[in-house]
């Protein structure tokens, strides 16, 4: 009798393990959706400050995880401002001063245009599977969609967020919610992702709400108007010369 009960139980258990992918494989699938070799994005950032809300429009070109070029399109005060990030160096160009200023180190973790995004948040496109070790710590439904809850711990020291908590849609393999933590375990940012759209073979969130937990504001909406993956980017765009052009 015992044997008769044990066999189906063992089969069920094995089946369950076979169905649940590892944390690492989930992250790889998330990366496959969220990152690409190149991308060209037109976006709108709505910054909800304590006094006023502002909308900033920009167009970005990025290659790989660390290189990106952004040009601000609106409002008038920001138009023509450009940012270039190559590796861990970032240059900013302001048409008013006709100066190109380099930022590095901790400055990259400062807020972009008073938003809840840092320069790193804005311009990095991290491959999570390469940087973090992932462990599935549970399952949870978010917006009625079943999600895995992943605990990510950085494999290296020099990363903006030492650990992350990720809620990943079990069907689409996209993050729907993310919490970013400092080394000491302090929650730094919370991101809610929504408006998922099927683009080519991937799912991508067209709306992200960032909330810097250390700031008093009401958060920043990042809305993707258009996005092209693996598009050809002329080599001159990701150069310092393009800043003054």
């Amino acid at each position: 009798m015992k044997k008769q009960l044990l066999i189906p139980f063992a089969l069920l258990t094995c089946g369950a393990f076979a169905q649940t992918p590892s944390g690492h494989s989930i992250l790889e699938k998330v990366d496959a959706n969220m990152t690409s070799e190149t991308s060209i994005t037109t976006s709108k950032m709505i910054i909800h400050g304590r006094r006023v809300s502002r909308t900033i429009e920009s167009r970005s070109w990025s290659t790989g995880a660390d290189n990106a070029f952004t040009e601000y399109l609106a409002p008038a005060r920001e138009r023509g401002t450009k940012m270039l990030k190559l590796g861990d160096r970032l240059w900013m160009y302001s048409p008013d001063t006709d100066r190109t200023i380099q930022l590095s180190g901790h400055m990259l973790r400062q807020s972009v245009m008073g938003s809840d995004l840092s320069y790193e948040d804005m311009m990095d496109d991290p491959r999570l599977a390469q940087i973090y070790a992932a462990e599935i710590v549970g399952t949870e439904a978010v917006e009625e969609r079943p999600c895995w809850v992943l605990q990510l711990t950085a494999n290296e020291q020099d990363v903006a967020y030492q650990s992350r908590k990720l809620w990943v849609d079990q069907e689409r393999y996209v993050p729907v919610r993310e919490e970013l933590y400092a080394k000491g375990g302090k929650l730094l940012k919370r991101i809610n992702l929504s408006g998922f759209k099927r683009i080519d073979e991937r799912w991508y969130p067209m709306r992200m709400v960032f909330k810097d937990m250390l700031k008093n504001g009401k958060g920043t909406e990042f809305i993707v108007a258009t996005i092209e993956f693996n598009a050809e980017i002329p080599s001159h765009i990701l150069t310092k010369a393009a800043l003054r052009r």
Binding site: R50, T97, I101, L103, G114
Partner: protein
């Protein structure tokens, strides 16, 4: 009688020289200590008022709550009309607008690329309006090490230490990178026209001073002020008046829950200065009190010793019929003379090192490398009218008190025993 007593004092040095010296030393120490503490405390209050707190300060409630972060997004709007209203209501105060900001000071090379850069703590004050008192209030003119004062828009001063760190001097272009009031990126080109040593470690590390209108343009803060500072016209902080004005202004604010409503604070309500002010106010009394007690004990002992030494003399005077009260009074008069002389001498002696410390001070800059306090890195004494007067009360009082205590022994002497005692 007085001439007789003075002659006695002058001829008997043990009754005059030693007590006068003791009183003089005590008074000199008191004068020095009072002028030093007065200088240090006044300097801290003055530095805080001039650079940071004003005698009163008006900001929004939200700004006041996060003041150390220079949250210019929470600045006061319509600063011009607001200043006019306050100026009209309180003509004895002078109101000025200021903006503090943090940013990056970037020095370009010949190609316009970043050559050096460093974080900078910026201060926007009215430098260019005719009749502006701000430069004098911050003693900037006298603090210039190289170059000159800004004379037109776009010219700035940087701290000498920062200039050396960035290897720049007057005439160099610099760009400030910061955030506008609305959080956008702010980049503005300036010309460094001078370097300054503020004498305050927190500012000497990395401050720049620009004209308020330039800062407003850079930070998109037209007709706004991060802080409205009010100063009494005579430059002296008056705590009672400041507290009264603050109560009046705050009571008149319509909406106490609006985080952008203005809130006024007196100097004592900022930078934890309340206890400090109370301490400064009572310091003279504390010093006088301690000195009176200490000197009284010393002079009481001195009086006792003198009494013992003059045991025979007093006995003879009693034996030949002098009244106890007369002897007691003559001793008190002697002590007044000794106290007066000692006090005058002590004031004169104490004023010499006090004057030296007032003029040259003690440089404690090396101990304040990481200090963020608004205090001068050169500690100085300050001689005031009180410095001249403080020695009199304890110098005279304690001498007389000591003698009065010691002299009570006279009344314990029994006339019937005197001749027996004098035979010995």
């Amino acid at each position: 009688m007085i001439r007789f007593l003075i002659k006695g004092l002058l001829r008997d040095r043990s009754r005059s020289l030693f007590p006068v010296m003791v009183v003089a030393i005590g008074v000199a120490l008191t004068v020095l200590l009072q002028s030093w503490i007065n200088g240090v405390m006044s300097d801290m209050i003055r530095s805080n008022a001039n650079y940071s707190t004003g005698h009163i300060k008006l900001t929004t409630r939200a700004y006041a709550a996060n003041e150390e972060q220079n949250p210019n997004d929470l600045a006061l709007l319509d600063a011009g009309p607001l200043t006019d209203r306050l100026q009209k209501k309180y003509p004895g105060l002078h109101f000025v607008s200021r903006i503090r900001f943090g940013g990056l000071l970037d020095i370009p090379d010949e190609q316009g690329e970043t050559r050096e850069q460093a974080p900078v703590a910026g201060l926007g004050i009215d430098l260019l309006s005719p009749g502006s008192t701000e430069a004098d209030r911050l003693n900037i003119r006298k603090s210039i090490i190289r170059g000159r004062m800004p004379e037109k828009p776009g010219e700035v001063l940087v701290s000498e230490d920062l200039a050396r760190k960035l290897a720049v001097g007057p005439g160099r272009a610099a760009t400030v990178l910061g955030s506008t009031m609305y959080g956008s990126m702010a980049m503005h080109n300036f010309t460094i026209v001078g370097t300054v040593r503020f004498g305050i470690a927190a500012m000497d590390r990395g401050a720049m001073v620009a004209d308020l209108d330039d800062v407003r343009r850079m930070l998109d803060m037209e007709d706004t002020a991060a802080e409205l500072l009010g100063y009494f016209d005579d430059g002296q902080y008056r705590d009672t008046a400041a507290v009264r004005i603050v109560a009046e202004v705050n009571a008149a604010v319509d909406n106490p829950t609006d985080e952008f409503a203005p809130v006024m604070r007196a100097l004592r309500d900022q930078n934890d200065l309340a206890e400090y002010l109370d301490l400064a106010k009572n310091m003279t009394r504390i010093i006088s009190g301690v000195f009176v007690v200490a000197m009284s004990i010393v002079l009481w002992n001195l009086g006792l010793i003198a009494g013992l030494r003059r045991y025979g003399e007093i006995g003879v005077r009693l034996a030949i019929g002098e009244q106890k009260g007369h002897i007691y009074c003559s001793m008190l008069l002697e002590s007044v003379a000794v106290g007066l002389l000692g006090t005058l001498a002590g004031i004169a002696v104490g004023l010499i090192p006090a004057w030296y410390l007032q003029e040259y001070g003690v440089d404690i800059g090396a101990m304040m490398d990481n200090s963020s306090m608004m205090i001068s890195s050169v500690m100085r004494a300050q001689i005031t009218v009180q410095t001249f007067l403080i020695g009199f009360v304890p110098g005279l009082l304690s001498t007389v008190l000591g003698t009065a205590l010691a002299g009570t022994g006279i009344y314990r002497r029994q006339t019937s025993q005197l001749f027996k005692e004098l035979e010995v």
